[in-house]
Subunit: 339 residues, 3 copies
């Protein structure tokens, strides 16, 4: 039996596309259960006992404080001890070591690698390299360049799932994505994942120079997912179930081209709350700038702070699935005896 | 019932002035008890079990290794898992996020924020901001500019309390504060806290350009606390119960003005031990330079290394009070069954 | 009774020379036992319970990611909580504090200091300074300049011990050391430790300008350990039990003098596997460059990745010995009741 055959439903977490509906539902259910178990001290202590024998390394050669903290605290919730590399210059690569050798070294002390890198495809290459060794460990992609950030897509799904759980779930919902859709990694991943849900409709609200890419539109057409495109945010708000705001991705600018865009037209402000349906929600992957006014924060439909915290809980669920402890958390028998 | 009403005796720890005599005594008793419980492994394990479900973030955008380590180890003693931000440049603020949003994000993963900032009032503003949210967490001020460093004042109080516990406590004692009293944050906070003790007398020994501020002197007059001022260290040593040495705060110099001061007159050297009463103690907030000679270290009256370690234990007590586990530590019933 | 008298068999770990045969064998046995106990969750949890009341500081003012991670994870395996100083500029030394005061401060929060410094002898001086205080803690030298790196030598011994455990142990073996032997700290320490084994023979394979130092050769002669010297790697491979490869230590170059060396002659490549005995092993302290071809990695005789991981396990054993919990791990009674 090969190493791959003996693995559970989740091993490496590399790209959003690897998650099908069954796995998404399972992770969402698990996340909800984990949140509830953690609410009381006995439950929190039980969760920490489950992976108390595991150690993780957070290998973040591209800085990202929020993703780092979200994963680190997710590890802590399950009792996983963490080590970290946040500054590539502290690595022994200065002695001429290859990146592959460096990562294999770090992997030798731990049970899982959570990695963020500015290089597209680096997590995939690391996973493939480790799979060839005597002691492979799972790799979780916490963002690889402009390429993939699968756990962000999963936390977005969970936020939709949780918000719509008394309204038939994500199926049948209309979701508007607003802003710099050409460069936004999160909205692209989320669009891909929509293929797993029935009757979903997408509305893209973007400046002409930042429209959603043709690759995504082609994918949606192929999957039979209806979509439309507009620049009129106020015009479409009355018909949405969720509006997903995104910031201008000007860090990818080559010559300040983002400055020419009138982004005020793609900002959500308190006056928009009046035309947003009572049951709709407002999301944002954060950090935000002017495109989402703080005056919206206290409206019950604003879900972005909860979305942030959902990220930590979903990452707990991912780790639980990787290490095969889903049953210990979900099983009613385990529940009654331990929690 | 508001969030504030449901809180225990200690929630945010922002400034020395918020502590009255009852709370000071309570924290000092708790600190002593914690030190004793931690001495044996069963006790240490019991303490760690009390807050094993809590997570803290140490948000230190002003570097301070000793305060950082003191708090981090205090967390560990109670089983609190820690995350940290020590370098503001790793924050996502580079993406244009407001400091308020950044801190709200970090707070969303944890149960308490311990923050040190170069900006006066920043901890207060953070606490007020979080209090307005759905999920406030307590904020501990670990130093905010020249403004406040309340836990340092508390550890000084505890060092006095512990040193004088067989001599009637802090009440009635004569305390000399020596050095750069104009700029020293610790001596200023400690002077304020003296209002909580009866019959205390203060002696300020400082160079003319660095005398204790008129605001403090006015406060002492109003509170009826006698004080006097001198430049003659040797002259007052025979009458003190405690001598609190401080270093020259030349990091606040604008044009090297500290170089003109003859600070040798405000240094404690081995020969001073001969005129210091047998029951008196020597304190220093550390780090020290020439104002406190290492030749004093082995004298039993030198308490500054113990003072350093007291800081960690007092911070454990503060965390215990914030999370409402004082009774679990003090209660004789809990004591007999757990420790 | 002095502090020194009450100490166990291991307190400060400062230099390779302090380990005699009995202690080496004991640490190797303990390491093997720890590896086995940690394989199942109950055993791993038991190990973590043993030092759950201890705290360590990793004081690494000379960067070394691999040694840092190896020690940090070793601490975690025994339940020791860790703090760290990795950047000397975050220390309060900027306020004019002496290095001795800084370290005494850090020591006051923890139970053991693991230190790496660019300054030869710094760990020794720290240990001596702390021994003079009221609250000494053990110091582990994790590398001090070109001087000593004792735990690296111990993990090399353990790798040899483990590899030869069914072939009579290290006694009687022929070990070739290859490369920049003049500057390599690891091969020098390992040579010293060979005095503890009977019938060992050493072969030094080095470029003329990088031969093993006369001090080591003199030591071997005095101890009656036979050695020879050659530049012909292929020529000696058929007669070795272990070949220990090392990289060119060009970080100590003053004017690029290493560039003149034809290091290809001192590289191990896949073709060498054909002439290496079936029972022999290949070691390397890592990181590697061209002197050890990745094409060798999958050969069962390649032990350097295991050697890396052995380092973590040996460091667990060292910590266990320092804190006197060897019996809790080795004792069959403890074994049956806890694991």
């Amino acid at each position: 039996m090969s190493k791959t055959e003996s693995r559970g439903p989740l091993y490496h977490v590399l790209r959003a596309q690897q998650f099908d509906r069954a796995l998404l539902d399972r992770l969402c259910d698990l996340t909800t259960r984990i949140r509830k178990v953690a609410k009381v001290k006995e439950g929190a202590d039980y969760l920490q006992s489950l992976l108390s024998n595991k150690r993780a390394i957070l290998y973040f050669t591209q800085p990202s404080t929020r993703t780092f903290l979200s994963f680190q605290n997710a590890c802590h919730i399950l009792g996983i001890r963490t080590s970290e590399i946040r500054d590539p210059s502290t690595s022994s690569e200065y002695k001429g070591e290859s990146p592959e050798d460096a990562i294999r070294t770090f992997s030798s002390y731990v049970d899982v690698i959570i990695m963020r890198s500015p290089i597209a495809g680096f997590a995939d290459r690391t996973a493939a390299m480790l799979d060839e060794t005597d002691r492979p460990v799972p790799v979780i992609n916490a963002g690889s360049g402009k390429d993939q950030h699968p756990t962000q897509a999963l936390l977005d799904i969970y936020t939709l799932y949780r918000s719509f759980k008394d309204r038939g779930g994500i199926d049948g919902k209309t979701i508007a994505m607003v802003g710099d859709l050409a460069r936004g990694r999160t909205v692209r991943s989320l669009s891909y994942l929509m293929k797993n849900y029935r009757g979903v409709r997408l509305i893209f609200v973007a400046p002409p120079s930042r429209r959603m890419g043709d690759d995504i539109k082609g994918f949606l057409d192929k999957m039979g997912i209806p979509w439309k495109e507009t620049e009129d945010l106020a015009g479409i708000l009355p018909e949405v179930d969720a509006v997903y705001m995104t910031r201008l991705q000007d860090e990818y600018d080559e010559a300040g081209e983002s400055k020419k865009i009138d982004y005020d037209k793609f900002a959500f402000r308190p006056e928009h709350l009046e035309i947003l349906p009572e049951t709709a929600i407002v999301m944002h992957p954060l950090p935000r700038r002017n495109e989402l006014h703080p005056g919206v924060d206290k409206d019950p439909r604003a879900k972005y702070w909860r979305q942030e915290r959902n990220g930590m809980w979903m990452r707990v669920a991912i780790l639980a699935a990787i290490f095969g402890i889903e049953k210990d958390i979900l099983d009613p028998y385990g529940r009654s005896s331990h929690v």
